[in-house]
């Protein structure tokens, strides 16, 4: 129930004040939760699997790195010593081949112990012949990077072993100390890092008092919970080394992607030539042969001196005439497929021509300041042509809009229709000249083609092209 006071206001309830303001020492609930969370994590960490597998990784990969660095360094030095006799080169090459194998093994260890999945670097490409092998081995960037990894890994491992591993040792000794405290002044070895810092021998030396043992126990406890995090720090740096030095070479990766793009381009142009040849063969050539045949027949009819069937001759000439006109149209279409003459007046004019020819009513927005290179203009033109043709054929749309805009050094084409949607890259263009072919062309210049076409529409195709390629 609410009582109304003299001045007509509802009584103030002190309980309505937000509670967390008054709770403990100006710390909010969230901060408390965070701290609790952190404490729980720190306390739990030594009992999870992760720090132990990291420790195992450190020991296994450390030993392996030491052994392999010795092998690689020894063979390298021997190779350099003997380099004047040419045998040296062979030894260095062999050493590099070993280094590559070690790199692969280290990558495997990281995968198994740390769950660190590093992509395979480029495979070793062997040139034919012995000298080819020698040259490829000596110039194998992956192997040299493995050598660099080993060289960096070993000192880091030793430091890690000293710091992190000795923390574990502190924990081990400190925690077990009370159990093995015999009270005979010999409370166990003092090897640990913390013991050396906090309980130097000269202070504690031989003192097996309760205080000393308890001190050791506390230090051990601290070490026990700190060790996983220190270890993690070392492992994180090693992971970074593995990723950068044992993973794929960024330069090589770029080269590979360029090679792929080049292959696509070459294939695409071969496919284009084949399509043009097919068009000529099936269309124009056949048309012209039929035309010549009709004229040949007409000629023979006219030569028939007994009876010239003028009616028939007229028919043949008519057909030939029609065929000639069709052949001209076909040739024009093929020529336009090779290089659209409309592009000579610029992309805007060419796209306007396409838009005005579109079977579905269309509008064009064009906002490009810098003129793209000829190759990009051609790709943009063919994209719009193909997309408009697709809209007319498949979309059942009543309107289509084409926009071509510049953003920075990129050209963005958007073709949007109000049709029934549901288009897929695989179904819209099954042939090389379809949407799949367009995608290839676009990828060849490092561009992108995105298709969004939910069932029921609308369909939006976005093509991004660099201004120059």
């Amino acid at each position: 129930m609410t009582l109304v006071t003299e001045d007509g206001e509802a009584p103030a309830h002190p309980e309505d004040e937000p509670k967390h303001k008054t709770v403990s020492l100006g710390v909010t609930d969230e901060q408390v939760i965070k701290v609790k969370e952190l404490a729980r994590r720190v306390l739990r960490e030594p009992f999870t699997r992760r720090p132990w597998s990291e420790l195992a990784f450190w020991m296994v990969s450390g030993v392996l790195a030491a052994v392999s660095l010795v092998i690689v360094a020894a063979t390298m030095i021997a190779g350099i010593w003997l380099i004047i006799t040419f045998v040296g080169l062979i030894i260095i090459a062999l050493s590099l081949r070993i280094a590559r194998g070690i790199g692969r093994f280290q990558r495997g260890l990281a995968h198994n112990f740390l769950g660190e999945t590093v992509e395979e670097p480029n495979p070793f490409v062997r040139r034919p012949g012995f000298f080819g092998w020698l040259q490829s081995a000596l110039r194998d960037r992956v192997a040299w990077r493995s050598v660099a990894y080993l060289a960096l890994k070993l000192p880091w491992t030793l430091l890690g072993l000293y710091v992190a591993f000795s923390l574990w040792w502190d924990a081990f000794v400190g925690l077990l100390n009370p159990i093995f405290w015999h009270g005979d002044g010999n409370s166990g070895p003092m090897w640990g890092l913390l013991q050396n810092i906090f309980l130097p021998n000269r202070i504690t030396g031989g003192d097996a008092s309760f205080g000393h043992t308890f001190g050791l126990f506390v230090l051990g406890l601290l070490a026990f919970f700190a060790a996983p995090w220190v270890m993690r720090g070392f492992v994180t740096v090693d992971r970074l080394l593995i990723r950068t030095l044992l993973g794929p070479d960024p330069v090589a990766a770029r080269v590979r992607s360029l090679e792929q793009a080049r292959t696509t381009t070459v294939d695409a142009s071969a496919a284009t030539l084949r399509r043009i040849e097919r068009d000529l063969h099936d269309g124009t050539q056949a048309q012209l042969v039929a035309l010549a045949m009709r004229l040949g027949m007409a000629k023979e009819k006219l030569d028939d001196t007994d009876h010239v069937d003028l009616e028939r001759v007229r028919e043949l000439v008519d057909e030939a005439h029609r065929g000639a006109k069709e052949a001209i149209t076909e040739l024009r279409d093929i020529a336009r497929g090779i290089h659209p003459p409309a592009l000579d007046i610029g992309l805007e004019g060419a796209l306007a021509t396409l838009a005005s020819r579109s079977a579905v009513p269309s509008e064009l927005n064009f906002d490009v300041r810098d003129r793209p290179t000829a190759a990009i203009e051609a790709i943009a033109y063919f994209c719009v042509a193909e997309l408009l043709a697709n809209v007319a054929q498949h979309a059942h749309a009543s309107r289509v809009s084409v926009s071509c805009a510049q953003s920075g050094s990129w050209l963005r084409l958007v073709v949007r229709d109000d049709g029934h949607g549901g288009a897929h890259l695989s179904t819209v263009g099954s042939s090389a000249s379809g949407l799949a072919g367009l995608t290839e062309r676009v990828h060849a210049v490092d561009g992108r083609l995105d298709l969004v076409s939910p069932p029921g529409g609308p369909t939006v195709v976005t093509v991004d092209l660099p201004l120059s390629a």
Partner: protein
């Protein structure tokens, strides 16, 4: 024209050309047993309604490479005495060699352009239908080009080689005489010399002509 109308089947994937051929051949009094656009259809057409000669386009669906050639070889093996006239936009020497591998009788290989000269084309078709040979001059030129290094034909004089080339096209002595502007008697003498020089057995004259052509093509 032969007293009994020759029966022709056509396999050509270009509709324009197919219709044109049908029109032309019907006009010339041939009977069309089938006009189809792909290999399988011709196969069944020939089986149901055997023609005297089949006109086959080399490039047909599905792969547009040499379907027609393979179909021709298959039909020849299956239907004895069936004349085959291969019809192509291009001349491929290898195709000609495949086709003529064992017997040139009843085989023709012409460029599509040849239909423009209606009479020559019809003549060639008739020749193939009755077991003769009709090779496009282009085929012959290419084959001579391809065989220049071989010395089988080096025993022949240039004139004899010309005569042999025309024989390879499938021409009669009369036609060869006309083409080279020499008398028919001179042609007969050249032909006899060719037979002797190529070491061809004395037998049925037509067969010897075919053998000479084969020798010429193999060389």
């Amino acid at each position: 024209m032969t007293p009994e109308a020759l029966r022709v089947a056509i396999a050509e994937d270009s509709a324009i050309l197919r219709d044109g051929l049908v029109q032309l051949l019907v006009d010339r009094g041939f009977v069309i047993t089938g006009a189809v656009g792909e290999p399988a259809a011709l196969r069944s057409s020939v089986a149901q309604n055997p023609p005297d000669v089949a006109v086959i386009d080399i490039r047909m669906p599905p792969t547009f490479t040499d379907e027609g050639l393979r179909l021709a070889l298959e039909l020849r093996a299956k239907h004895e005495g069936l004349g085959i006239l291969l019809f192509s936009q291009y001349i491929e020497t290898r195709y000609a060699a495949d086709l003529l591998a064992d017997d040139a009788a009843g085989i023709g290989y012409l460029l599509k352009d040849r239909v423009a000269d209606v009479s020559d084309f019809v003549e060639a078709l008739e020749r193939v239908a009755i077991g003769g040979t009709a090779l496009d001059p282009e085929v012959v030129t290419q084959l001579i080009g391809a065989t220049r290094r071989s010395d089988t034909l080096s025993v022949l004089t240039p004139r004899e080689r010309e005569v042999l080339a025309l024989m390879a096209e499938g021409r009669s002595n009369g036609a060869i005489a006309q083409a080279l502007v020499i008398s028919e008697g001179a042609v007969e003498k050249h032909v006899a010399n060719i037979f002797t020089k190529l070491d061809l057995p004395v037998s049925d004259q037509d067969h010897r002509r075919v053998l000479a052509v084969l020798r010429f093509l193999e060389s």
